[in-house]
Amino acid sequence: MTVQPIVQGRGIVKRYGHVTAINHSDFDLFPGEVLAVIGDNGAGKSSIVKAICGAVQADEGEIRIEGKPVHFSSPLQAREMGIEIVYQQLALSPALSIADNMFAGRELRKPGIMGSVFRQLDKKAMEKFARDKLTELGLMTVQSINQAVETLSGGQRQGVAVARAAAFARKFIIMDEPTAALGVKESRRVLELIQDVRAKGIPIILISHNMPHVFEVADRVHIHRLGKRHAVVDPAKISMSEAVAIMTGAMEPPPVEEQQLVPKAAA
């Protein structure tokens, strides 16, 4: 029995003028897994993820989400489908509170006439929800949910961003270099969060440069090279230096039958 992938991309192409950022690449994300996407600078790993979430539109190829073909024209559409993105640059508004940030663009309004006519926000409900979600991920060391995000440390901000994604994601979460700007201890906290989110059953696409982080949390590693999916490997069967060698072209990828194109559980 084969498991239906959450995301299935086939023959995706994206050109910018004469530059081909994605060159007939495939992509698969399966339920419940953390899929790391690694690649050298300029390999196009960000481009392919952007094509999946609608930040850029692919010129050719097909993207299916849970088997249905999709054509997102903006990340907002992807978001409506329950796809959340955690950006490297965090995408939080510094002056707004934690609760306001969690509900950015999907605020709750009060029931009744205050909400429908006077458009009043239901601050109580939003604060409660935000507090619950942060507590769920063990992040309530934060003193007040009404605290401005700019008063938080980098790790706490990343925590808020991950909590927001985890709270609203119904399909999967894309994380773009979530630990790149963080210190060692804060990175550790974010890696724990990634595992907590996976434990909730939400699959994650993790783009990262950091091999130790990738090898620690990923179930499968998608190695991107020259705009293509070069190989998908099992991090338990390959060393970090081999992965880097494959990524940079210094080593041939293992033969297809030894790769991990589908998760072990699904095969």
């Binding site: 508004s93 306001d100 663009g105 458009r119 926000l121 401005a148 790790g155 201890k185 620690e216």
Partner: protein, 356 residues
């Protein structure tokens, strides 16, 4: 999995001996810190304190000549136009923009209201609606140029200021519509000049409109999603977009609303001066920016409260009337306002230094 996990953690094994806390909060005490925090959460506090202090000081110096219902409501009358325009300016400045065309939009709208009534014989009520629509339209064009053409707001509104002002002179042929004529044929144009007299206190409809406008905007900015988005876009437009707000829609709505409010200011201007004059209101730009800055709204966007601008406009009004009653040279007013502007921005910079 477990094998790979240990592989990943190898280099961090020394961490186990380290302090396990992740970024705890530093508890900061002390009056200065608390003050900074209070100002950070209530940015309109500084101008409110300055306003109350200046009323007290002038009250002590001038006694009942200043501290009377008549004089205090006179200040409201004198600041109503600048106050309304400052409300529009506040919205734009909150989005990290600036609107140099506010004065021009105001005058243009009042001229449209007057000329439509008297040149084309359109019923004055409809002419007023046309004037409001023209103001909103010009504001919306500003917003579209800022978002679609990606031009800096300063440049867009600098250009629009000249265009609208010139159009205003060309269209009106530099012609003033006299007050008596308006009072006879189209009193609705002078609607905001109506007065509620309570004892010696004189509240014009224009002053009341200004107060209601600030109340409505405060509600919209603090209690609705749109308000949150205005702050977020002003704070960091890219972050607002990435977190799912439609930043460009918010910006266009802000510029269009600014235009509408300026058009209301144009209507109130007719009530204030009685006539429709294409040469009036030339200082509204700079006076509105002054009120906003003294009111503690950051020119870098995203910080401040629209109420601050009301207090800023009132502070200028208090200084103007107080110094005039003291018999001081009018230049003292400008000098002191200049000092206030620089002081206000210094306070803003200090408040921004939030320690995380």
């Amino acid at each position: 999995m477990s094998e790979s996990a240990s592989k990943g953690q190898d280099y961090e094994s020394s961490l186990s001996g380290a302090n396990q806390q992740v970024a705890e909060f530093e508890k900061r005490e002390g009056f200065v810190y608390k003050l900074q925090h209070a100002l950070h959460t209530n940015p309109a506090l500084v101008p409110l304190i300055v306003l109350v202090l200046s009323i007290i000081v002038f009250g002590l110096l001038l006694g009942s000549k200043f501290f009377s219902p008549f004089a205090l409501t006179l200040i409201l009358q004198q600041v109503q136009i600048v106050g309304i325009v400052a409300a529009a300016q506040s919205l734009v400045i909150l989005t990290a923009g600036i609107d140099l065309s506010v004065g021009a939009i105001m005058v243009m709208s009042s001229v449209v209201m007057g000329q439509f009534t008297f040149r084309y014989g359109i019923p004055p009520g409809i002419a007023v609606v046309c004037g409001l629509a023209v103001g909103t339209g010009i504001g919306a064009i500003n917003g579209l140029l800022v978002t679609r053409m990606k031009l800096p707001p300063f440049i867009v509104t600098l250009g629009m200021w000249q265009i609208v002002l010139a159009a205003n002179f060309l269209y009106s042929a530099n012609e003033t519509i006299r007050s008596q004529e308006i009072a006879e044929k189209a009193p609705i144009l002078q609607f905001f000049g109506n007065v509620i007299q309570i004892g010696s206190a004189r509240l014009t409809f224009g002053a009341i409109f200004m107060l209601i406008l600030f109340a409505v905007l405060t509600y919209a900015l603090t209690q609705t999603a749109w308000g949150r988005h205005v702050y977020a876009v002003g704070d960091d437009k890219e972050a607002a977009e990435l977190s799912g707000m439609e930043a460009n829609k918010v910006l266009v709505s802000v510029y269009a609303l600014s235009g509408l409010i300026c058009a209301f200011a144009g209507w109130a201007l007719i009530g204030r001066i009685g006539s429709v004059s294409p040469t009036s209101g030339q200082l509204a730009n700079i006076e509105s920016i002054t009120a906003v800055v003294i009111g503690g709204i950051s020119l870098f966007g995203g910080r401040g409260s629209v109420l601050g601008s009301l207090f800023g406009a009132l502070i200028v009004g208090v200084f103007t009337l107080g110094l005039r009653l003291l018999g001081a040279d009018a230049q003292w007013t400008y000098l002191l306002i200049g000092v206030l502007i620089i002081a206000a921005v210094s306070v803003d910079q200090w408040i921004r230094k939030v320690s995380g």
